[in-house]
């Protein structure tokens, strides 16, 4: 089965250098159409990112925890 079709967008930022993490996440968010979402995978609770979304994209995003540690956190971030 092809591995690049009909799969959710899953952005794993665990190996992205810290200085590139949030810019990468926001760039990915900007590619979404309203109603679309991606799954963020991280190695810690990304709550500081949520605060940044609240500050910079208030009312434009959805945030749903799918998995909360202890090793991996998965959050669905949707665009309204």
């Amino acid at each position: 089965m092809p591995e690049t079709t009909q799969n959710p967008i899953e952005l794993d930022v665990r190996i992205i250098p810290p200085r590139e993490k949030h810019p990468t996440i926001f760039q990915t968010f900007e590619t979404l159409e309203p109603g679309e979402s991606f799954i963020l995978v991280n190695d810690h609770d990304p709550f500081p990112l949520r605060y940044q979304f609240q500050a910079e994209r208030e009312g434009q995003f959805e945030w749903e925890y799918l998995e909360e540690g202890p090793t991996v956190w998965r959050v669905r971030i949707g665009k309204r």
């Binding site: 089965m1 591995e3 949030h22 990915t28």
Partner: protein
């Protein structure tokens, strides 16, 4: 992507150590980098399969320089582990013959290419002719050499045949890399909905100590929330 550790990242480690590292760091899989000329006995392969399954870690690939003498046992290993054998792309006629033998046996095979869209198109041609479920494309990326502008063309050339990506220097080395941005690369793979293994391996043996330290940590780097927002762009 499914973050996968290559056994070449910790060549002194036992299988048990590698599986424990995958569990602790939340890696989805383990790539076995098989030394040239080896492919293991059937009993050894079965033992690997059982132990990986017991640890909840998937063996995502068997990487090897395939020589004729090991082809049969590599086929057995691929079938037993349910993982593709990943080999360098050779001449097209030879590669197609090899692909046909794997497809006939019901095993999976991926041909490795560097960041070279023409080579990716050759692999697609072989896969289209032989059977897309058996034959895939493996992409070796070297962030310190590859240009970020080549990534979109490579993804377009690979299409749905892309089954495996190996990121040289994808662990502790990314902090100091210049050239292709790892963040932009991973974002592009995500947007392309790639869900195959992203294999982490050192770019050079001299980084093994840094990798050992990085793999020994309980978690990653943190989030760097004060980063420059213009650092990553996906426009090109």
């Amino acid at each position: 992507v499914r973050l996968t550790l290559s056994s070449s990242a910790a060549p002194e480690s036992t299988l048990g150590d590698l599986l424990e590292t995958c569990q602790r760091r939340g890696f989805a899989g383990l790539e076995l980098d098989v030394p040239s000329g080896q492919s293991g006995t059937e009993g050894a392969v079965e033992s690997v399969r059982r132990r990986a399954e017991g640890a909840g870690v998937r063996i995502t690939a068997l990487r090897m320089d395939l020589a004729g003498a090991t082809e049969e046992t590599s086929l057995v290993a691929a079938l037993a582990l349910g993982a593709p054998v990943v080999v360098p792309l050779v001449a097209e006629v030879e590669a197609r013959a090899l692909a046909e033998r794997y497809a006939a046996a019901g095993a999976r095979l991926a041909f490795i290419v560097r960041t070279n869209p023409d080579a990716a198109r050759i692999v697609r041609r072989i896969a289209d002719a032989v059977g897309p479920d058996s034959i895939g494309l493996g992409w070796d990326i070297r962030p310190e050499r590859d240009e970020s502008g080549a990534v979109p063309e490579m993804l377009a050339a690979a299409g749905s045949r892309l089954q495996y990506v190996r990121l040289y220097g994808g662990g502790p080395e990314t902090e100091t890399q210049t050239g292709l941005g790892v963040g932009a690369l991973i974002a592009r793979l995500a947007i392309a909905r790639f869900q195959g293994p992203l294999v982490l391996t050192p770019s050079d043996d001299r980084y093994h100590r840094a990798w050992s330290s990085w793999l020994g940590r309980r978690s990653g780097w943190g989030c760097g929330k004060t980063a420059d927002p213009d650092l990553v762009t996906l426009d090109s």
